[in-house]
Symmetry: C2
Subunit: 375 residues, 2 copies
């Protein structure tokens, strides 16, 4: 912990563990619970930083693995870090690259010291250690950085999960002890697959090492929603009340609600942006696949309850036309909407917690949203 | 001519035929000489209408052929026309589709009545007549519409050019006499390939039919710049002083200057937008291929003399990264810049004519711009 980083809980819901907080970072304050749009390659796909300001983003996530490979962290360092490089003055969180090294890179080989892998771009060979991961994230200069960990797939053998966890905990300690920038808050990541005792062991050992925030990793990898909620339940039981909690990679509104009421403060997911580029749009009435023929002459806004640039200015018929015609502007207008939708959902969740209407808001929102989900 | 459409010449340059004018249309006033960004499919590729306002677009061009095929002009008619469909309240010009029917569509067969062609999208068969072309453009609702013509390739046999010209002139008359919306100004198009007598004959016959504006078509199709300038010279000699003149499809700054000083008022070209998507950017110091390795650590703005969103907020290194990483946001930021650059060039040309500094401005601009052209 350091002076640049502070977490205050403003209000806790009376009926659930949901809480509203304020996270102070060197680049500003974040209101929690918060959704972080994913800017993998130092850009939230299709958007500019002006667009991110417009839709109300408070913090974005960027990816260490991708930026290490391209443009290279030394170029970002020369630029003065990610903030000036991408002209985003507000908070940034970088992941550790662990997830991508194991899932996206090829021919990875894990040793005690780190992971050998080949770039998914050009096959070039690289070796990530916890220390290198800290050095890269230092060059990127995010406000919140993550420990280097192994994110396990689902399902996984108990034996592998145990040995992986030993490695992940050793790496977490090495990250903590590595040469670091004291302005960057380093979060631990609770792994342990779907094994309750391993998850609890991991949480406890991370707390012994001591971090200013804790993530729950290895979720949304194929387990059932019920398993995910259960894992969040018993992991949060172990985590300190006064530190932010971050469920990595979770984005569907129902999962956000389930995690928020279990005491989770931070979320990220590529779903709103990736789905937008495929014409799958989140609205107050549920998901709208705006490419569908039924919208060809629908001159109403995508979501009549939304006040984003797209809904204020364009119709479903126009968006459908742009998508059918393969126009790039379709992807940007759709992304603007979906990110605005997610950020507004979190604003509403915070407001509902603050005013003691969380259960009613959840019921009302999901009642309308899930009615519209066709698939 | 009608009350909705008025062309006034504000100032004519003393040393050249360059002139500054004001063109009044149902959706507002256009200052000429003007560059019209091309919005082929009811969108200027990668941009939203808010972006077009931001870069200062006064009028855009859209394509009858493309919109007829997709989404279909009846859908645009139901939307209330292109203006509400794409949320662009300022003037729009639609071309006639002639150019695309002959160049983009397949298996076209010309008869006296019109052109049979197959869609480049799905091979479906269609038949364009001058009357249908007017009906489609009526549904699209642009402020300025164009006669249906045959745009000849270069080089072309004299015999073919002669018979094509007879057809084009008959079609021009049929367009004029077709059922039309009196609020839409219909421009004639001077064809005649590179044959001086045919071009002059065409201009004179079109003037006999009578149009509120005249385009010079069939240029920028492979002829040399000198041939193009010469054609503009002798065609403009024939055209009335008090009507706007439009050279179709011409965009390189040097061609704009050469045409402006020959008395041309309107321009359109896909070059600034298409080149932008390929990382070829126009700057006050010449063309910058921002993908090039030399810009990897260049943290200066793309064009230090430019005040567009891209140049104010992003560096060459960041743009290069986005292009190398295949990010869509690169194309939008580049397009914003190139369109802003072209529109600003025309603002500067108008200002130079108004203040009697046109020759100096041309020399100073091209001196810097062409020095930077490597290819």
């Amino acid at each position: 912990m350091n002076d640049n980083f502070k977490f205050e809980i403003i209000k806790t819901d009376s009926g659930t563990r949901a809480r509203v907080g304020r996270l102070t970072t060197p680049h500003g304050v974040i209101n929690t619970p918060i959704f972080m749009p994913v800017g993998t390659q130092a850009t939230v796909k299709t958007l500019s930083s002006e667009d991110l300001h417009m839709v109300g983003a408070e913090i974005i996530l960027s990816n260490t693995y991708h930026l290490y490979l391209r443009p290279g962290h030394e170029i970002v360092r020369k630029a003065g870090g990610l903030h000036p490089f991408m002209n985003w003055p507000k908070p940034i969180l970088t992941d550790s690259g662990g997830f991508q090294v194991f899932s996206l890179a090829e021919l990875n080989k894990v040793t005690e010291n780190g992971v050998h892998f080949q770039s998914h771009i050009d096959g070039s060979r690289h070796f990530f250690t916890p220390e290198l991961c800290m050095e890269i994230q230092n060059a990127l200069g995010a406000d919140i950085i993550m420990v280097f960990d192994e994110c396990l797939p689902y399902p996984i053998e108990r034996d592998y999960a145990e040995s992986s966890l030993r490695q992940t905990l050793k790496w977490a300690e090495r990250c903590k002890n590595a040469s670091r920038n004291p302005k960057q808050a380093l979060f631990g990541i609770v792994q342990g697959a779907t094994f309750r005792d391993l998850r609890i062991q991991c949480a406890r050992e991370l707390i012994d090492i001591g971090f200013p925030g804790y993530a729950i990793g290895g979720l949304s990898v194929g387990e059932t929603p019920q398993m995910m909620y259960e894992i969040i339940d018993y992991v949060v039981d172990e985590l300190p009340e006064d530190k932010p909690r971050y469920v990595m990679g979770s984005g569907p509104p129902v999962d956000i609600f389930e995690a928020v009421e279990r005491g989770v403060d931070m979320f990220d997911c590529v779903m709103p942006t990736r789905n937008a580029r495929n014409a799958s749009l989140m609205t107050s009435q549920g998901v709208v696949i705006v490419k569908n023929a039924e919208y060809a002459s629908d001159f109403s806004p995508l979501d009549p309850e939304c006040d984003c640039l797209t809904c204020r200015n364009y119709t479903r018929a126009y968006l459908r036309h742009l998508f059918k015609a393969g126009e790039i502007s379709a992807m940007r207008l759709a992304t603007l909407h979906n990110v605005h939708f997610m950020l507004t959902l979190l604003v509403q969740i915070r407001e509902a917690i603050l005013t003691g209407r969380y259960p009613e808001f959840k019921k009302s929102f999901l009642g309308k949203y899930q009615r519209g989900i066709h698939s």
